[in-house]
Subunit: 133 residues, 2 copies
């Protein structure tokens, strides 16, 4: 489950504010978003034994058959570089990803889904779509 910072925002509601309605809406939205996100996390975990960050990373790679560099992934997922490093490490370890040095740039590496990774992702994505609906 995600951090739910709503009570902090809720505090503002107590102020004799003029923006009470907006804040209330905002609060609701945040609560709703976090609850749904938590549900998705739980389903991915219980059904496929995968975390949401891993799933997201695989989703990126599923759309890039030729692979992506870590920086690309980092930008797309809007997370730090170091974060991607660890995520990729674990997914390579589990056999879902493969990495190789970039042809033209020896600093970078290209990662892509393995056959296993692709197969598992597709299965998860199918279930995921029906959940969303």
């Amino acid at each position: 489950m995600n951090s739910i910072p709503l009570d902090a925002e809720a505090k503002a509601l107590e102020a004799p504010g003029e923006h009470a309605a907006e804040l209330r809406l905002w609060l609701r939205m945040l609560t709703c978003a976090n609850l749904i996100e938590g549900t998705i996390r739980a389903r991915l975990r219980d059904t496929f034994g995968v975390t949401l960050p891993r799933f997201d990373l695989m989703a990126q790679l599923d759309r890039a058959p030729d692979g992506m560099t870590l920086s690309d992934v980092s930008r797309r997922m809007m997370v730090s570089n170091g974060n991607v490093t660890g995520l990729v490490e674990r997914l390579v370890e589990s056999g879902h990803l493969e990495r190789r040095i970039h042809d033209q740039d020896r600093r970078a590496q290209v990662i892509r889904l393995t056959d296993l990774g692709r197969a598992e992702f597709r299965a998860m994505a199918a279930a995921h779509e029906s959940w969303i609906a």
Copy 2:
């Protein structure tokens, strides 16, 4: 910044779905919520050197002058017990909270803001309100 699981959801948009509009709205909402949350995190960190979870915990306690038990906090914040244990530990360490054994129940402990904790929280809350607006 929070995890941003949007790309995963975005994938669903590519499907020749019937729910495209709903999903798109949902996606927007999530993006928006996460961006704002990230902004608040950054401001609290840069301005007061405090994290959002700590701020949330202090917000709970500010509303409970007589203190709360860890379980109360856990339920209110909707996070695990173990999470609260660590959070409280660090806040006691930094002098913002004090803990004492519950009078009637030796299993439980009551935590409350110290004078320092209350003063700092009030300052942060004031800034927080103006940010929200």
